[in-house]
Amino acid sequence: MLQVDGLTAHYGPVRALEEVSLDVPSGGIVAVLGANGAGKTSLLRAISGLVRPSSGRIRFDGATINQDSTEDLVRRGLAYVPEGGGVIGELTVAENLRLGALWRRDRDERERTLEEVVALFPRLAERSAMHASTLSGGERQMLSIGRALMGRPRMLLLDEPSLGLAPIVVEQIMRVIGELRRDRGLTVLLVEQNARSALSVADQGVVLNVGRVVARGEAHELAGDEQLRHAYLGLT
């Protein structure tokens, strides 16, 4: 579904990504791991069109998307949930959710999707009329994932969904990600510092360090790799 080939990207003069390649098959969950500053977020920003690659190629559904705008990619089924969720605090929970589906023409379809999302995160229904700024960290993350689902994406780019959340909430979110893949074949590219929980739900993992891929493999292999764990993943 998503192929990244030899992707290099810069932030001003700083090279954030160097010759990164990875492949996310349809219905797969791939985890991108690495420490702070490894280039994980840059990778997602490049894929979603927020940063233009300096070289390399990004393909989504067979088409090259290097030059496509973020708005268009969202409309084509590639949703990006940024670090912290990107929830709009001044809008209510219901408005945030509605916003995620507004570009879709069919009103009935939008209503149906809303029911599905609320079934997935019942908490959001309880908080519906509240401003999103009043939500807890976990609720925000649920809202941002739910909002992304409102557009019925085929692929989800998730940036650090576990950041700053209690372990029990992290577990819940990882479970939902697994369910989404199982029940609707959603493809996921999951960026995480929290390697353990990411690898618990992913099929495959890619480890980045200073903008380069330093290791890749099946999730359970990576989780068991003693050296890797010490060098890049901060697991003990």
């Binding site: 969202v74 949930v81 990107g86 605090g89 001044e90 916003l99 507004l102």
Partner: protein, 292 residues
């Protein structure tokens, strides 16, 4: 007592006009964080267009509608052509661009229509209603002014609160990045914001023109008053703009009536400074205080 009532009624009617211009400043500030110094010039042009059409066709309402449509179009074009390149840049660039546009519009208006202010007809009679044998300082045209501005403000509130377009506009204003990630075409929302703002401005021009006449510089003062009203209301709150306009209209009417009309501009500046000192975030702002 009757003088107080007259001044109050006059203040409401003037305040509504300030509110309409303040609304246009607020809409643009919300969408693009730019103060549109050219607003006075833009509404001057649309009012001149109305004046020409009324003069040649004899129909007030044709001129009225064309002026509003011209405002809508001019707002969109100005955003696309002039503002788009300076959006996201240092704020000073936008200030210079809109000031430059103001000077350009005033020069062009002078070339086309001449520098001598001309009269402009009101939509309805400006003779005050007769209440128990006495004419009050409030007539059919004032009623029309109040209803038109309240109607425009109400329609905007409905648009923002009740429609998908309004929700997208609010999202684009609050958090452009998050909005883009939800598929919102943010730059398109900015264009719509400018167009609606200019529409509100051209409405104000049509309403105030009978009192101040139409000339290249006759609307300069209104922008100062509107800016004060907008700051009073918090600069990013449409409701605040309407209430700010009303408060300012009443204050200035009392100053003019009890202390002398030469003090009006000074009073407006005093109110502006007082608000900035005491409550810089305005009365209705949703954001933190601005640093200037």
């Amino acid at each position: 007592m009757s003088r107080f009532i007259d001044l109050t009624l006059n203040g409401i009617s003037n305040g509504m006009i300030y509110a309409a211009v303040a609304l246009s400043l607020v809409l643009i500030w919300r969408a693009t964080r730019i103060i549109n110094f050219a607003q006075g010039g833009m509404l001057m042009i649309t009012t001149f267009i109305a004046s020409s059409i009324i003069g040649s066709s004899g129909s007030y309402w044709l001129g009225f509608v064309v002026a509003l449509a011209a405002g809508l179009a001019m707002g969109a074009v100005v955003e696309r052509v002039l503002v788009r390149p300076v959006e996201g840049g240092p704020p000073l660039n936008a200030v210079i661009a809109t000031l430059g546009l103001l000077i350009l519009l005033q020069a062009v208006a002078g070339m086309i229509w001449g520098g001598t202010p001309r009269s402009f007809p009101p939509a309805f009679s400006i003779r005050g209603y007769e209440v128990s044998g006495r004419r009050v300082l409030f007539g059919p045209f004032d009623t029309f002014t109040v209803l038109a501005v309240l109607g425009a403000a109400g329609a905007l509130a409905l648009l923002f609160r009740g429609t998908g377009l309004g929700l997208q506009m609010r999202a684009a204003a609050f958090d452009p990045l998050a909005a883009r990630l939800q598929g919102v075409r943010v730059t398109g929302m900015y264009t719509v914001g400018w167009a609606l703002a200019a529409l509100s401005g051209s409405l104000a021009g049509l309403l105030v023109a009978p009192a101040v006449f139409v000339g290249p510089n006759t609307f300069d003062a209104i922008l100062v008053f509107a800016f004060t009203a907008a700051v009073l209301g918090g600069l990013d709150s449409p409701v605040g703009a309407v209430i700010g306009g009303l408060v300012l209209g009443l204050s200035l009417s009392y100053v003019s009536g009890y202390a002398g009309s030469s003090l009006v501009t000074l009073a407006a500046l005093a109110i502006l400074i007082a608000v900035l000192m005491v409550r810089p975030e305005g009365l209705f702002s949703s954001t933190r205080a601005r640093r200037i």
